[in-house]
């Protein structure tokens, strides 16, 4: 019964474990992603779906949703989810890698007014090739891949250390301490 899962947008409430967590990030609306995953939630009523929708106009009717959440809660939701679905932003990519969670991405497109450049296509192409990170070509592909990944997520992203390579941070340190 999908309507029973409807919530107003104050808080997501109890954390769902083993469901799908969807995030558009903190910067710009991304209604195409939100609506697609809300439709996916309608088709999969037994799977908990939680969506962080930002400043979008489309309000989910089947999935639980919230506009914004503190970064600590965001990380917790990524950690609890079985599948993380998000825009191809570096915040989502690094959070997924740090949590060791499979990430399914949809790139924001400039032509749709979803970002001010098309750089998310480049991000998805250059970084999305890592194991555990998956890139959807469009909304139909996104829904199909979400179903496949929920059944079998394959290998999670390889773990990375908490900080950048010391060779890089040492060069920044040298810059700081020069002069």
């Amino acid at each position: 019964m999908a309507a029973a899962r409807r919530t107003r947008c104050r808080s997501l409430g109890e954390r769902a474990v083993n469901g799908v967590f969807v995030s558009v990030g903190s910067m710009m609306p991304f209604d195409r992603l939100v609506q697609a995953m809300d439709e996916w939630a309608a088709a999969h009523p037994d799977v908990p779906v939680e969506i962080q929708i930002g400043r979008g106009k489309y309000e989910p009717r089947h999935a639980k949703y919230v506009r914004m959440m503190p970064v600590v809660e965001y990380r917790q939701r990524v950690a609890d989810a079985r599948l993380f679905v998000a825009h191809a932003g570096m915040g989502s990519i690094i959070s997924a890698i740090e949590a060791g969670k499979p990430l399914l991405m949809l790139a924001r497109l400039q032509a749709q007014g979803e970002h001010n450049t098309d750089h998310q296509l480049a991000t998805a192409a250059s970084i999305g090739a890592r194991p555990g990170l998956h890139v959807a070509g469009d909304v139909a592909d996104l829904k199909a891949r979400a179903t496949v990944l929920l059944a079998d997520a394959g290998a999670p992203p390889a773990p990375i250390s908490r900080f950048a390579d010391p060779k890089f941070t040492d060069r920044i340190r040298a810059f700081i301490e020069a002069a």
Partner: protein
């Protein structure tokens, strides 16, 4: 090595996540962080965190607010060195810092793998140094030192 006052600044989302991955670079110095969400304070405690109002090309009319916040942050921190991972508000801070003898480093976001970001392009005119996280984007005046991943 004398302790220096460092301002580590980035917009929200991925920009700030990348900044956090660079933390060992200023270990042992007096760092103050600045970003758009006050909730990020939990990530940097006990170091202090200041906030500024966000602006992008889409809402350029907010620029005066960001300019005011940038002045406030510079006056409060009086940094000797600024490190940023973008985007537009930190570029405003670097522009103001230029005339104040502050060393500034622009680390272009790893999201920009095909061309340097628009803000990064401008940063070349005002920053002490600009680095890209992608070796193929290195050019005269834009070095590649490594990446956050």
């Amino acid at each position: 090595m004398a302790r220096k006052r460092i301002l580590a600044i980035a917009s929200g989302g991925g920009h700030f996540v990348q900044l956090l991955r660079l933390r060992p670079a200023w270990d042992g110095h007096d760092v103050t962080y600045a970003t758009v969400h006050a909730a990020s304070a939990v990530d940097v405690a006990p170091a202090p965190l200041l906030t500024f109002r966000d602006v992008s090309r889409a809402d350029w009319w907010r620029l005066p607010l960001t300019l005011w916040d940038a002045l406030r942050i510079l006056a409060k921190v009086r940094p000797q060195v600024i490190v940023t991972t973008g985007a537009l508000p930190p570029l405003v801070v670097l522009t103001l810092a230029r005339g104040l003898g502050i060393r500034t480093l622009w680390v272009d976001s790893i999201a920009n793998s095909e061309v340097l970001s628009g803000s990064g392009r401008h940063a070349g005119k005002v920053a002490t140094a600009v680095v890209t996280q992608w070796p193929q984007l290195a050019e005269p005046g834009v070095d590649h030192w490594g990446s956050v991943l």
